[in-house]
């Protein structure tokens, strides 16, 4: 399963914004067909990590490869899902219209939608249970359903590596469970999910692997071995947080009656 062409490889990856490093010396392998949560405090480089996978950022140093290819050559395999609040839900477009966009990159300027394109769109809609909602305008769906529209678009695109920026933000409990179930079924089909997540509890329940970032990699591997108290402390409190400072802990833990 984890043969060479199916690995996302980071070697010595460093990205700087100006002089400020956003990612420092990241070296790790992500086996495809796994669910990996990218964790870390704000500004730890979670988004930068995803964008670097897409080949959007000039790497100051190092190399990212998807199998044997550079990200630019593997674009059809990669799907990036926007944060939910970044979408204009009033846009005059139906669910099917959005999912059809997944086929656009594969079409030449003058080409029209073929039967194969339509079949791929139908299959993506069916897999995510959106067939009955396909002709609705996108604001008429619930939060979880709206999230699924964009997952379906990624499927229609033919992607097998999914990069998601905070997919669980703003979803209610039921929708979180549903999304978790979808990710699990994708894992079973050998698809790869790489998601920036800020909620550690959700990450524990939904993902098998994790990368814990604080500009550089604090820990990576199976999620239980990554999310130890010591690692969390190191990533979120730079190792000098509440635990080492009883006074500060008292200040933050006690609330006035």
């Amino acid at each position: 399963m984890n043969s060479a062409p199916n690995i996302l490889r980071f070697r010595d990856v460093t990205v700087r914004y100006g002089r400020q490093p956003a990612l420092q010396d990241v070296t790790l392998d992500i086996p495809c067909g796994s669910l990996t949560a990218v964790l870390g405090p704000n500004g730890a480089g979670k988004s930068t990590f995803l964008r670097a996978c897409l080949g959007w950022l000039p790497l100051t140093r190092g190399e990212i490869r998807i199998g044997d290819a550079h990200p630019q050559h593997a674009l059809p395999r990669l799907a990036y899902l926007p944060q939910r609040h970044a979408v204009d839900w009033d846009f005059p477009i139906t669910v099917r219209g959005v999912v059809e966009q997944g086929r656009y990159p594969a079409l030449r300027l003058w080409q029209r939608f073929s039967d194969r394109d339509r079949a791929l769109v139908d299959r993506a809609l069916a897999e995510l249970g959106l067939t009955d909602l396909a002709d609705r305008q996108i604001s008429q769906l619930s939060g979880g359903q709206q999230q699924r529209i964009f997952l379906a678009r990624a499927l229609a695109q033919g992607a097998d590596i999914f990069l998601l920026d905070e997919p669980f933000t703003g979803l209610d409990l039921l929708a979180v469970e549903e999304l978790t179930r979808i990710f699990r079924s994708w894992e079973a089909r050998g698809r790869t999910v790489l998601a920036a997540v800020h909620d550690l509890d959700i990450a524990r329940r939904a993902f098998g692997r994790a990368v814990l970032l604080a500009t550089s990699v604090v820990a990576e591997g199976p999620i239980e071995s990554v999310l130890t108290e010591a690692n969390i402390d190191l990533a979120f409190r730079r190792g000098k947080g509440a635990r080492d400072d009883p006074l500060r802990m008292a200040r933050t833990a006690e609330f006035p009656e």
Binding site: A86, P92, T94, L109
Partner: protein, 296 residues
């Protein structure tokens, strides 16, 4: 007054035919472009661009007099400079694009006003400021045909990129598309069409022919393609009505077209069955009513 007097008679004059053709051609490109401007929340930027044409017109007038071609080129250059300048300012400095546009267009407009106040005679420039069917020259009609055709071709060829750049620019970029080129192309098309609409509509009112059909269509349509078709059809219908009205009443053509569009817009904003004010108000009252009921 018979039907013949009302509708057919006006167009026995050559200048009326030119005015009508010009307005219909601009309705096509204006409806398409306006829809995209509205969906991209760039409606006010269009306004900024239309004002920034003024110094170009004034400079061309000072240098070449009444030469229509020179006026068009001058306006085009001024508009493109504003668009390009704002893009540069927003990329190179901390200033955001909307503020950059706001700043640059006022500077350009001020320069235009300053230059105009130095002009000896202003009579003929009024056509360019406020629009007149009488003023559409043969070259003006050719420019309208050109800009309309270019816009149509760009929209047919680039329809998918335009939709993606408008709905989800991040997705376009993630799949290897070139968003900035689409954005720049749309701005350039907007300037071209504003210039082409100068004679019929006037610099300031031209934007009405672009935006009003689009916002009206936005109140009715939940499909992207339908929105574009609706906007174009509405722009064309109101252009025709406005020109007939202008002929019989003597009102400036740009103003009468925009007023026709304005009536349809206001009616739609009030009474559109799903997105209009009345429908939303009824829904709100019904909801409150049901809450009170269930509270009892």
């Amino acid at each position: 007054m018979s039907f013949h007097d009302l509708i057919v008679d006006p167009f026995s004059f050559g200048f009326m035919q030119r005015g009508l053709f010009s307005a219909l051609l601009l309705s096509l490109s204006g409806g398409l472009l306006g829809s995209i401007l509205v969906l991209r929340r760039l409606a006010l930027m269009g306004d900024a661009l239309s004002h920034s044409l003024l110094p170009g017109i004034a400079v061309a007038w000072l240098l070449f007099g009444t030469n229509t071609l020179a006026l068009f080129v001058g306006a085009l250059v001024a508009g493109l400079l504003t668009a390009l300048g704002s893009a540069l300012v927003s990329r190179l400095t901390r200033i955001k694009e909307d503020a950059a546009f706001g700043s640059l267009f006022t500077i350009f407009f001020a320069a235009g006003v300053a230059l105009l106040s130095r002009l000896p005679a202003r009579v003929n420039l009024e056509h360019f400021l406020f629009g007149s069917v009488l003023g559409v020259s043969a070259s003006g009609l050719r420019l309208a045909a050109f800009s309309s055709a270019v816009t149509l071709v760009v929209f047919v060829v680039g329809r998918r990129s335009i939709l993606l750049e408008t709905f989800d620019p991040v997705f376009l970029r993630a799949t290897g598309g070139r968003g900035p080129i689409v954005h720049a192309g749309l701005l350039a098309l907007t300037v071209l069409n504003l210039v082409a609409a100068m004679q019929t509509m006037g610099v300031v009112l031209a934007l009405g022919l672009f935006l009003l059909p689009a916002v009206t269509a936005y109140l009715w349509c939940d499909h992207f393609a339908l929105l574009l078709v609706f906007a174009v059809a509405l722009a064309a219908a109101c252009s025709f009505a406005g020109i007939v009205l202008s002929y019989h009443s003597g009102v400036a053509s740009g103003a009468s077209i925009v007023l026709c569009l304005g009536i349809v817009f206001i009616a739609s904003a009030l009474f559109s069955p799903r997105h209009g004010a009345a429908a939303r108000l009824v829904e709100f009252i019904r909801e409150r009513h049901s809450v009170h009921r269930s509270a009892d």
